[in-house]
């Protein structure tokens, strides 16, 4: 084959201060293929794609598009070179219609009407060609995330993109929506488009791509044909050692009810009804997993239980009701009642990024008597405690004087986990335990959660990763639009059924 690669990167390097984000990266992507790039957070995937899209300038290296050396100093030149990018966080104007969003920035002239008319015609043909149906007159904020993503893809195609880069495209999608996305990508590929798929999910790589490149610590460790590899091997390439992809756990020994939630309703400060009449229980010694696409009320549920969102309804812990409003509905009172909380967003809530590790280990428990010394805090005792906790949870580097922001995602999570678990709580709330965490640490974190369950603690797990829910939970509840769609046992259900429930449908609806 003498075909020139659609994209060829030669020896790309990029450093941010002392951090080498990309190191001598070379990659060839043939036209009409789907090329996956997989790697842990911070492996340099996003940096590489940002260089390709003109957001960053590489320190050295060359970019060839369709065999021609091309300079990409900004995103305008990337678009001119036929590169389109679909970001993880969409860049759409919420109160514009789909059509207006597509035309925005690519208007033919100062007059809008002819551009819109042309866009409408092209949109129709694109939709027919690629199974990319969207109502052009719908306002973006009224359509679902799956649809919004299609608008992003259409935007790129409208700008005549031949190369499409998708950054973690399934993060916000239900499994069904994700399947649809991959069908669209297949169609695009068949029409000769080149697609680069960035993800950290091994399954998507196996299902959707033709070739895959693995990145680790800024370097490209391997590029292989997807057909010639398997998830275990890819995981090993990503982490640099063998990893267990399965969680080992014995059957749950369920005890008395610890958490009992009845008719919980949450209305946020914008007046949106976030949680609607939710009731459930969690017993000692079991993990209740709550599945759902993010933004369906799970976060608010955790915030209420954690003590920083107001609600109505009744919640009892160990048979005693807890306050849902007023002064006693704060995090401190919750902790006093034996509720520990690993929040969904550790960088925003769980940690003070500029605090040292030892200061973070006291965070939320800074009233604990063993941390006080007269009118002062006993910083020496906290540091000592931190060293012990860092050791038990294998936090690396085990330096209590390092700022939280200097740790990797996995080690940050271990700090939070150590702080919460070591308090010996009756109930552990844990949101997105492995978001942004490297595979190696995922294994460890899952083991810790299961170990806590086996000590007879109640665990409420919220995760948008279905695999994680299925692997850890003893019971699974699904939330959609603030409601509980029902409960299933992991052995009686599968991703497909849960996926439908996550989209607000029951099995009967689908049939």
């Amino acid at each position: 084959m003498t075909l020139a690669p659609a994209i060829e990167l030669k020896d790309i390097s990029k450093a941010f201060g002392p951090v080498q984000a990309n190191k001598n990266i070379s990659i060839r992507v043939m036209p009409g293929t789907i090329h996956g790039i997989i790697g842990e957070n911070g492996a340099g995937k996003s940096t590489l794609m940002s260089i390709l899209y003109g957001f960053y300038k590489a320190d050295k290296g060359e970019i060839y598009i369709a065999g021609k050396k091309t300079a990409i100093p900004d995103s305008q030149s990337a678009i001119a070179a036929g590169i389109g990018m679909v970001f993880q966080h969409f860049k759409l104007v919420e109160n514009f219609t789909v059509l207006e969003n597509i035309v925005l920035g690519a208007e033919d002239s100062g007059l809008l009407r002819p551009s819109l008319a042309r866009a409408r015609r092209e949109l129709k043909s694109l939709a027919d060609e690629y199974e990319l149906n969207v109502d052009p007159d719908a306002v973006v904020q009224d359509i679902g995330v799956g649809m919004q993503q299609r608008v992003e893809i259409l935007k790129a195609l409208y700008r005549r993109a031949d190369i499409l880069i998708l950054d973690e495209p399934t993060g916000v999608l239900t499994p069904a929506e994700a399947d649809h996305l991959f069908r669209i990508l297949e169609n695009l590929k068949r029409e000769g488009k080149t697609i680069i798929l960035i993800t950290h999910k091994l399954r998507e790589i196996m299902d959707a791509t033709d070739t895959v490149s693995v990145m680790r610590r800024g370097e490209m460790t391997a590029t292989v044909k997807t057909a010639d590899t398997n998830p275990a091997e890819l995981a090993e390439l990503m982490v640099g050692r063998k990893v267990l992809l399965q969680v080992e756990k014995s059957p749950a020994r369920v005890g008395k009810t610890i958490l009992d939630v009845r008719n919980l309703n949450v209305t946020d400060n914008k007046g949106v009804h976030r949680v609607k009449d939710v009731s459930f229980t969690v017993k000692a010694g079991e993990i209740l997993g709550i599945a759902g696409v993010s933004g369906n009320g799970q976060s608010e549920l955790l915030e209420v239980l954690g003590g920083y969102e107001k609600a109505t309804g009744t919640i009892t812990v160990n048979g005693i009701e807890i306050d849902l409003t007023g002064a006693k509905s704060d995090g401190r009172s919750r902790r006093a009642r034996g509720i520990a909380h690993v929040p969904e967003d550790r960088q925003r809530e769980g940690l003070i990024m500029d605090y040292h590790a030892w200061e973070n280990v006291a965070f939320g428990y800074h009233h604990a008597p063993e941390y006080q010394r007269g009118m002062f805090m006993n910083n020496a005792a906290i540091k000592e405690d931190t060293i012990a906790k860092m050791k038990r949870f294998d936090v690396r580097p085990p330096d209590p004087r390092l700022a939280a922001k200097s740790f990797s995602g996995g080690n940050q999570q271990k700090i939070v986990l150590a702080r919460e678990i070591e308090r010996n709580p009756d109930l552990l709330l844990i949101g997105q335990p492995t978001r942004g965490v490297d595979i190696g640490a995922i294994e460890f974190i899952h083991q810790q959660i299961v170990a806590l369950r086996d000590q007879g603690k109640a665990i409420l797990l919220v995760s948008v990763e279905l695999e994680e829910i299925l692997a850890l939970s003893d019971r699974i509840a699904v939330m959609f639009d603030g409601r509980m769609m029902g409960e299933r046992l992991p052995q009686d259900t599968d991703e497909k059924e849960l996926g439908l429930m996550m989209a607000g449908m029951t099995k009967e609806d689908a049939a």
Binding site: G306, Y355, F363
Partner: protein, 367 residues
């Protein structure tokens, strides 16, 4: 990994900024036809060349320590308290009331009483903007600025009315009773024939200011309250998660801040003027912002920055006295210092970071 060692961040950057500001000031002085070297010598001699000069420098520095600490404490809770000026004015009112209407047996008790009165009035003046911020979301910058104007108007009203001694033509209170007069440096450090600090206004409040530095340091880094204030300042969502009440932190940090700004009055009102005049604060509340910025909101940094600004104030006054360089020139120099140490911090920081990274690389390669 931090790109720079801490000493570079704390010492080197402000020093370089200062040198840059000095160089630019030199150019400005050259441009109006005076010699910058001579001007600098004159400033140094005037501010630091005699105990008299030091007496003034430290007097100004005392004011700036209090207002600088005030801004720093609020800043740790990410509150930008621009109301130091008004809070210091109110502190003056507190001192005046305490000194005039309570019969004090000894200056030490009067100092204690004055400090408490000043702190309460300053804190009270900060309490209203703090409450509006915590409960209503009214921006603290806007409300504290407005309260500066209200404080000035209120003081004016009182000093031409209720507080003015009968028959006086001046908008000021009468002289405080002698028992409330604080010992000046001259009283404290002159032995026998040798009178040091003769006629200079520096007084015992300077040591109160140093105590305040230590107290603020302990508060911010050693107590649970300081821990909560800093946590809230870094991240409000995290603070809520941890059960730290934003309302409490906003109120408490602003009360402490206002109290510190108010306490400046023991120096300028009780210590120096020994009566309350209309223009007592003289912009020290605003200089406090620059002092806090330059001192990186750390009490020790605030102390050093306050001394520097005290030097600029006193040296500047000398400059205006002995050369044709106008008094306004010194405002320009102060502005340059503020500009370089506060606003243009990154201009120095980024290149310096690169230098340190390069050095580290070389060290690594050599190893």
């Amino acid at each position: 990994m931090d790109a720079m060692p801490k000493w570079a961040d704390v010492v080197l950057i402000p020093l370089i900024s200062l040198i840059l500001a000095a160089l630019l000031s030199a150019l400005v002085i050259l441009a109006i036809g005076e010699s910058p070297i001579e001007a600098l010598m004159l400033m140094i001699d005037g501010a630091l060349g005699s105990t008299y000069g030091w007496g003034y420098t430290l007097y100004y520095a005392t004011n700036f320590i209090f207002t600088g600490l005030a801004v720093s404490v609020a800043f740790h809770a990410r509150m930008f308290n621009i109301g130091g000026e008004g809070q210091a004015m109110m502190g003056g009112l507190g001192v005046a009331l305490v000194c005039m209407y309570i019969p004090w047996p000894h200056w030490s008790l009067a100092l204690l009483g004055g400090a408490v009165g000043a702190a309460i009035f300053g804190a009270a003046w900060a309490a209203i903007p703090a409450y509006l911020q915590a409960k209503r979301g009214s921006h603290i910058v806007i409300t504290t600025i407005m309260f500066n104007f209200i404080a000035a108007a209120l003081l004016n009203y009182l000093l031409i009315g209720a507080l003015k001694p009968a028959g006086s033509m001046e908008p000021a209170t009468g002289k405080f009773p002698p028992a409330t007069h604080l010992p000046s440096f001259q009283d404290m450090f002159s032995f026998g024939e040798t009178a040091l600090f003769r006629g200079a206004p520096a007084n015992v409040s300077f040591f109160v200011a140093i105590l305040a530095c230590v107290a603020v340091w302990a508060l911010i880094w050693k107590t649970r309250l300081g821990y909560e204030i800093r946590a809230y300042g870094h991240s409000e969502p995290a603070a809520k998660y941890a059960g730290i009440s934003p309302t409490k932190i906003i109120m408490v940090s602003m009360l402490i801040s206002g109290g510190l700004a108010g306490m400046m009055a023991i120096n300028n009102v009780q210590g120096e003027a020994e009566r309350l005049v209309l223009s007592a604060v003289e912009g020290a509340g605003f200089i406090g912002i620059a002092v806090a910025l330059m001192g990186r909101s750390h009490p020790f940094g605030v102390f050093l920055a306050a001394i520097l600004f005290g030097f600029l104030y006193q040296g500047g006054a000398e400059l205006a006295l002995w050369t044709k360089i106008p008094r306004e020139m010194i405002v320009v120099i102060q502005a340059l210092v503020i500009l370089f140490t506060g606003a243009l911090d990154d201009m120095v920081r980024a290149p310096l970071e690169r230098v340190f990274i390069a050095l580290q690389r070389r060290k690594k390669r050599a190893a």
